[in-house]
């Protein structure tokens, strides 16, 4: 039945009136649409794939949430933004361009269906189909939220969940879908190219993610609010209404749509109606007809000419031609094919548009975001920063999508144009045909990278930033090589599979594994599951690519770098596929059934390459295993659970403490190795003798390989360290009270660049840093290694930890718990480094000398400090200053205004603490600039690391109210008192005494030295940060003392202290802090957060107790929220 309206015809008998002989009815047309879709394999394929993805993302990974309504909103938005554009995008060409695609345009064009009815039926069919699919998504999201709800939300009923689901369906799904379908309809009225619709889909898909990330949306990881204008735009035009909805949820617990949400929905629906109206207008003005039948007028003109010619020739007999024997020249054929395919692809509007869109995106990304370092702070960028904006996310992802599109177009170009048999029967070998496709694809890739880099260079020129050609070459190579490899792999897939649908499905799966979080969802954590990806990390100004390529030359070495081994692995695979494709190529027709001929050269080559590929894969796997990079979260959890189950009873047994740590470290940054000899003095502080000793090796299994020898002459090993077992010793003579003994260890750490360096164990030429907590054994049971999360504990049969061990306000409700104990020791460190390097550790620099071409540094702490030994080696000199008798040193590759400001911050903070709280608890403070590997600042006893990107290269923005450089230096310096002075030694006490008190120091120091306006600017900054974090948070609201969310510990604490300062004044707060310090500093009983509350309450007038308790001990944050 060719006439789509035939069924309608049966239902509605013809009448006698001519003009109403046949009136198609919309329901019948929609039923026709369903009859069409239900037999389309593509529809079922995309439906099943999308549902499988949704199941994995929801049911397979149920979110733990304390706010189900918000969880549902965010989970559902995530599903929608991931799947809706793709689902509609795949089906839109079927809905709107199928007549033309399958040569049915003339047949359907002559049916009595009006263009309006055509539009409504096609769009309506797609809309209803997608709504059905989305309903399933909603049910999945609701089921996942229901399953992940915490017991505290037991008052949240199933009915409420259903109510919210219906609300989301009507208000979130339907308008968003209307807009998407209207957009596809409008676009399809202006083009007949399927590729353009796919491009539109890609733009919608990537565009929303970029916008969400740029707007700080909680649906995107690593997102931040970049522009207020963008925020406003998203507030009104967010297609999923997430932005206004979250803004509403900041001030209200109700998810019922407010005016802003309704306005947003109204705008989206209006926009959809406008698009549909414009699409219909195209029809009524006759554009559509001319678009679908544009050949006709030209054809009729052309037809007349040969007819006239024939008239002239009618009397003549047929002529003849001179045969030319062919001379097969592959080069000629190759050039001709390349030229033709190149022009064919470049003449397609989709190609031109895609390249323009990409160039525009690149330019916009670099031009608008290049100077951004962090809020209130601007970078002084260079070419590396400019290229980093696009080279690690936008360009590879967008480029890969374009590559997949081009590979498909190139592979099936002849078949799509129905001239496949003409080309396939020509004596051009499959090698030449495939080779020409590869050359064209590679040329297009080169063009894509060149255009993108031109966009970057243009943005740099406008911003007057010098262009460094060498950086462009390096980064160009790193982005181009993987794309070229992808090009070969994708073409090989198309050449091997005879059906374009199957080939595109295979490509889609490859792209899913490469670009989406699917491997993580499937718990495929091995890096080789990320198809075509290398482990190369973004370069920074301090150590370029050393995060991932180690000490190798340009881009690392084949065996060591994080780029080359992976690239080689994937290239071998692509080459292997390529040679298989050369053997089994269908010549673009999809007809040929491959015949297996085992003795041909391509097959042999493919087999050899496959073997090499396997060898390379095994080598990478072994290196990753050695580097400990393959341990999964589940394995780590199992290890911790086993530790708790096996050794928890040791918690009650008296164990010695480490009273002195003597370290001899030979650091070889160029070889990426460290040899460590440690001598731990174990002291028995208990009134009873100790017979047995548990040594906990806190690091994961990989670190145990570093442990070469343990010498413990006064004890005998009774349990070997193997598997989950920790070493257990029995003293030959029980360790008497007050007595000490020595334990000697030998460790060898070496680091490969096959995986990115762990954050606290970096051995690289430009920057080496070892925090030895993870490699040195600790005596006794370590309660902090227990699993905290109830769900994880339940998985391993462990009961939840009681509030008396995890909730600060409970565990120290009346007094500091009895098990609180400072783990402090005297440190003595001798470090040797190559010439030109400086070694940095805690303590006073006792001696420095040169021996055997090595520089030796001997550090020693005068008194015991927190037992967190660490060492840093850098090839830079220090800038030094004395303050209150304490040496303040900054190690940086160069010094500028920022280092001066940092020194000022260190000095002023030290002075303030010295005068208000207590003297500096150490011998020196050394601040070292670190690469951009994660945290912006990190404090160890007497040693501070500051990320050079924000601490050295970024300056306060012109409109900034305060300096982030100064603030951060104050914060990290404050940790020498709050964190490494007090704030440790009470297991389970949370971060209030560490992070929140450091925020108080920020407020005071900034106000003291930069004025009240600067302090208020900091408060305003934290207010915005807090409200934004709250909007996306689904965690249970807790009191500030019990808070475990970072936005509470930092931003909420800042707001709380700002309010407390206004209520109580600095004198009172400082007095409380001083008392806390004096009463609890080492070696007194450690302080808990509740000790601070008790002291503050004791010092405050009674009328302020209410506000103090509300701010510190109650979950309600109403006093801190600023109305929108």
């Amino acid at each position: 039945m060719l006439n789509p309206l035939a069924s309608a015809d049966c239902l509605h008998p013809k009448t006698s009136q001519n003009n109403s002989l046949y009136q198609p009815q919309l329901p019948a047309l929609l039923a026709n649409e369903w009859r069409f879709y239900r037999v389309q394999p593509l529809f079922w394929l995309v439906l099943l794939l999308a549902l499988a993805f949704a199941v994995l993302a929801t049911i397979g990974n149920p979110p733990q949430s304390a706010q189900p309504h918000k969880e549902l909103l965010i989970s559902h938005t995530k599903l929608l933004m991931m799947l809706q554009p793709l689902f509609v995008g795949v089906l839109a060409p079927l809905a709107f361009l199928r007549d033309r695609q399958y040569g049915m345009a003339e047949l359907t064009g002559v049916t009595p269906l009006s263009q309006k009815q055509w539009c409504l039926s096609r769009a309506g069919g797609l809309l209803l189909l997608t709504l059905g699919f989305q309903l399933l998504l909603l049910i999945l999201a609701a089921a996942a939220v229901w399953g992940g709800m915490q017991p505290a939300q037991s008052n949240f009923s199933l009915g409420a969940l259903c109510g919210i689901s219906i609300l989301l369906f009507l208000l979130q799904q339907v308008p968003a879908l209307l807009l998407l379908v209207a957009l596809q309809l409008w676009c399809s009225r202006h083009t007949t190219q399927i590729a353009l619709l796919y491009l539109l889909t890609a733009c919608c898909f990537i565009g929303y993610m970029l916008l969400a990330a740029a707007n700080g949306s909680p649906v995107m990881a690593k997102s931040g609010d970049i522009s207020p204008l963008l925020s406003q735009l998203m507030f009104y035009l967010d297609p999923y209404a997430l932005t206004p909805w979250l803004a509403q949820l900041q001030n209200s617990a109700s998810i019922s749509p407010g005016a802003a949400v309704l306005l947003n929905r109204l705008l989206i629906v209006s926009l959809s109606i406008l698009l549909v109206w414009r699409a219909l207008a195209v029809v009524s003005s006759g554009k559509f007809q001319s678009a679908t039948q544009h050949n006709k007028p030209r054809t009729s003109v052309l037809k007349t000419e040969p007819s006239a010619n024939l008239q002239a020739q009618s009397g003549r007999s047929a002529g003849t031609f001179t045969p030319i024997p062919p001379v097969i020249c592959n080069l000629h054929s190759l050039i001709s094919l390349i030229r033709l395919q190149w022009t064919q692809l470049l003449r397609q509007r989709s190609t031109v548009l895609a390249l323009l869109v990409l160039s525009g995106l690149v330019f916009s990304e670099v031009f608008t975001g290049l100077s951004y370092a962090e809020p209130q702070s601007q970078l002084q960028p260079d070419s590396r920063d400019a290229l980093n904006r696009i080279n690690w996310d936008l360009l590879p992802r967008f480029g890969l999508l374009l590559l997949a599109l081009w590979a498909s177009q190139l592979s099936w170009l002849n078949r799509q144009l129905r001239c496949d048999s003409l080309i396939a029967t020509s004596p051009v070998s499959g090698w030449v045909q495939l080779g020409s496709q590869l050359v064209v694809l590679w040329l297009l890739t080169l063009l894509l990278v060149l255009l993108s880099f031109s966009g970057v260079a243009f943005a740099q020129m406008l911003l007057q930033i010098p262009i460094e050609a060498a950086e462009y070459q390096q980064q160009g190579l790193f982005v181009l090589l993987p794309l070229l490899m992808w090009g070969m792999l994708l073409l090989a897939c198309h050449a091997l599979l005879k059906s374009p649908v199957r080939a595109n499905v295979l490509v889609f799966v490859l792209l899913l594994l490469a670009l989406s979080p699917l491997p993580q969802l499937l718990e495929l954590s091995h890096p080789l599951w990320q198809i075509g990806q290398t482990q190369l990390q973004m370069p920074d100004a301090l150590w370029a690519y050393q995060a991932s390529v180690g000490a190798g030359g340009f881009g690392g070495e084949i065996k060591q770098g994080g780029f080359w081994p992976y690239w080689l692995f994937w290239t071998l695979l692509a080459l292997s596929f390529w040679f298989l494709a050369l053997q089994f190529y269908h010549r673009g027709t999809g007809f040929s059934a491959p015949k297996l001929q085992l003795n041909t050269a391509p097959l042999l080559l493919a087999a050899i390459l496959a073997l090499l590929w396997l060898t390379q894969g095994l080598d990478i796997h072994q290196q990753l295993t050695q580097a400990g990079a393959l341990e999964t979260t589940a394995q780590r959890q199992a290890e911790r659970a086993a530790y708790e189950q096996q050794y928890q009873h040791w918690q009650q047994q008296p164990q010695p403490v480490v009273s002195k740590v003597q370290l001899q470290i030979r650091l070889s940054p160029l070889e990426q190795q460290a040899d460590i000899q440690a001598k731990l003095t174990l002291h028995n502080p208990h009134p009873t003798a100790i017979t047995d000793l548990l040594l906990t090796l806190p690091g994961h299994l990989a670190d145990r390989q570093a442990l070469q020898q343990i010498r413990f002459e006064s004890a005998q090993l009774v349990q070997q360290p193997a598997g989950y077992n920790q070493p257990v010793y029995r003293f030959k003579q029980a360790l008497a009270p007050g007595k000490s003994t020595e334990l000697q260890l030998q460790l060898k750490l070496s680091q490969q660049a096959i995986a990115p360096a762990p954050i606290h164990q970096v051995l690289r030429p430009e920057f080496s840093y070892l925090r030895l907590l993870h490699v040195l054994p600790q005596p006794g049971f370590m309660p902090e290694l227990r699993l905290k999360d109830d769900k994880s504990r339940a998985k391993f049969g462990l009961t939840p930890l009681p509030a008396t061990e995890t909730q600060p306000s409970v565990l120290a409700a009346t007094a500091t718990p009895a098990n609180a104990r400072y783990d402090w020791a005297q440190l003595e460190t001798v470090v040797s480094v190559p010439d030109g390097y400086q070694a940095v550790a805690a303590g006073k620099l006792i001696r420095q000398w040169r021996e055997h071409n090595l520089q030796y540094f001997q550090y020693q702490t005068t008194d015991a400090i927190r037992n967190l030994p660490a060492v840093v080696a850098v090839p830079w000199q220090a800038k030094q200053q004395q303050q209150q008798g304490v040496s303040l040193e900054i190690y940086s590759p160069y010094f500028n205004k920022n280092t001066d400001l940092t020194m000022q911050a260190l000095s002023q903070t030290l002075y303030w603490f010295h005068t208000k709280i207590g003297p500096y608890p150490g011998d020196a403070l050394r601040l070292v600039m670190m690469p951009d590997i994660g945290p912006t600042g990190y404090a160890l006893p007497q040693l501070v690391l500051i990320n050079h990107r924000v601490g050295l290269r970024a300056f306060a923005a012109p409109d900034a109210g305060f300096s982030q450089v100064y603030r951060r230096a104050v914060h990290e310096m404050a940790h020498q008192w709050f964190g490494h002075g007090i704030g440790n030694g009470v297991p389970g006490d949370g971060a209030f005494l560490v992070e929140s008190l450091a925020k108080y120091a920020e407020l005071v120091l900034i106000e003291q030295h930069f004025g009240q306006q600067a302090m208020l600017a900091l408060v305003d900054f934290e207010q915005q940060r807090y409200q934004r974090a709250m909007a996306g948070s689904r965690a249970e609201q807790k009191s500030l003392i019990d808070a475990d969310e970072s936005y509470d510990q930092y931003s909420r604490a800042t707001l709380m202290f700002a309010l407390l300062r206004a209520e109580l004044g600095d004198a009172l707060i400082t007095q409380a802090l001083q008392q806390l310090w004096q009463q609890h500093r080492y070696p007194a009983k450690p302080a808990s957060a509740m000790d601070f509350v008790r002291i503050l309450l004791a010092l405050s007038p009674a009328d302020k107790h209410g506000v103090i308790q509300q701010l510190l001990l109650e979950a309600d944050n109403g006093l801190l929220l600023k109305p929108e």
């Binding site: 054809t299 000419e305 040969p306 144009l417 020509s426």
Partner: protein, 304 residues
């Protein structure tokens, strides 16, 4: 020139397109007849190296084309039943592109041949117009021109006269007759007249098999004197009124008057006159016999 033995091809959906097909053809024009779905296009595609058979052998001038398809492609001209063209390219540019792929590397001689072929196919005036905008007939003529590029020893033409007007069709016939003297032209067509006019050898296919094959003249001659024509409405005749083995071949009209052509050893009755036998009579008779054999294998022997 062309020898095909026991060729079999079954598509993934189970359709048996070729079933133990045998064929021998020497130079000249070889006509291939058969109803839709008989397997003609499958056979031509297989000979043209576009698809691999499941089993069987194909040799052309001693060349095993299944083992050395590339060698055949060097001497092959192919016009498929349906084909498209690249957009934006002129007819001349497209012919030049295909000529290069066919190994015509010398630019001067290549362009000269293209010019000649354009003249032959009456496309000279539209040589620089985009081929994608050609009408059906013009596109078909372009297809013929591209098939003739080079020096093809084997020309495979699948429905070449589709879309051509009578004059163009006549010119195509002249051209094919002229160029087939030293090469093999495999011509597939539904128009039996075309085949009769052009082909010295002919084969009729049905359901993937050759049901009849031979010299055209030799196939028609035995029918002479056994084809009977009846003009006007044929009166209803009792079953035993027709002679044994009589077969109604064709019911058609001539200027509105019904015409019936029957095959019978003797005159079937009053009103019947003898008619000159044609390939079309042979075609219909063969198909009828093949059909009868399918329904009742003994029937063929009884009828013929």
């Amino acid at each position: 020139m062309l020898h095909i033995q026991q060729l079999n091809k079954t598509y993934p959906d189970g359709t048996m397109a070729l079933r133990g097909l045998n064929l021998n053809a020497s130079h000249g024009i070889f006509g291939l007849l058969g109803p839709n779905g008989a397997g003609k296009s499958s056979l031509l595609r297989t000979i043209a190296t576009l698809q691999q058979p499941d089993s069987g052998q194909i040799h052309f001038n001693g060349l095993d084309i299944l083992k050395e398809p590339q060698q055949l492609r060097c001497q092959l001209g192919y016009l498929p039943q349906e084909f498209g063209v690249y957009p934006h390219l002129s007819c001349f540019a497209l012919l030049e592109h295909i000529a290069v792929l066919k190994g015509l590397t010398d630019k001067t001689s290549r362009q000269q041949q293209i010019t000649e072929l354009l003249t032959l196919t009456n496309l000279t005036k539209v040589a620089h117009k985009a081929a994608a905008h050609f009408s059906g007939g013009m596109r078909q003529r372009f297809g013929i021109a591209q098939a003739l590029l080079g020096d093809p020893k084997l020309l495979i033409l699948d429905e070449p006269s589709a879309g051509l007007d009578p004059l163009e069709r006549q010119q195509l016939h002249n051209l094919l007759a002229q160029i087939s003297r030293d090469r093999l032209v495999l011509l597939s067509s539904h128009i039996v007249d075309d085949i009769e006019q052009l082909c010295a050898q002919v084969a009729i296919m049905q359901q993937g098999q050759m049901v009849l094959q031979g010299d055209t003249e030799a196939l028609i001659t035995p029918l002479q004197g056994k084809i009977w024509l009846y003009q006007g409405e044929l009166p209803a005749l009792p079953a035993d009124a027709l002679p044994l083995k009589a077969q109604l071949l064709q019911q058609s009209y001539l200027r509105g008057v019904p015409q019936q052509r029957l095959y019978a050893e003797v005159c079937p009755g009053d009103g019947f006159s003898t008619a000159t036998a044609s390939l079309q009579d042979c075609y219909f008779l063969t198909l009828a016999a093949a059909e009868a054999q399918l329904t009742d294998p003994k029937a063929k022997q009884e009828q013929l």
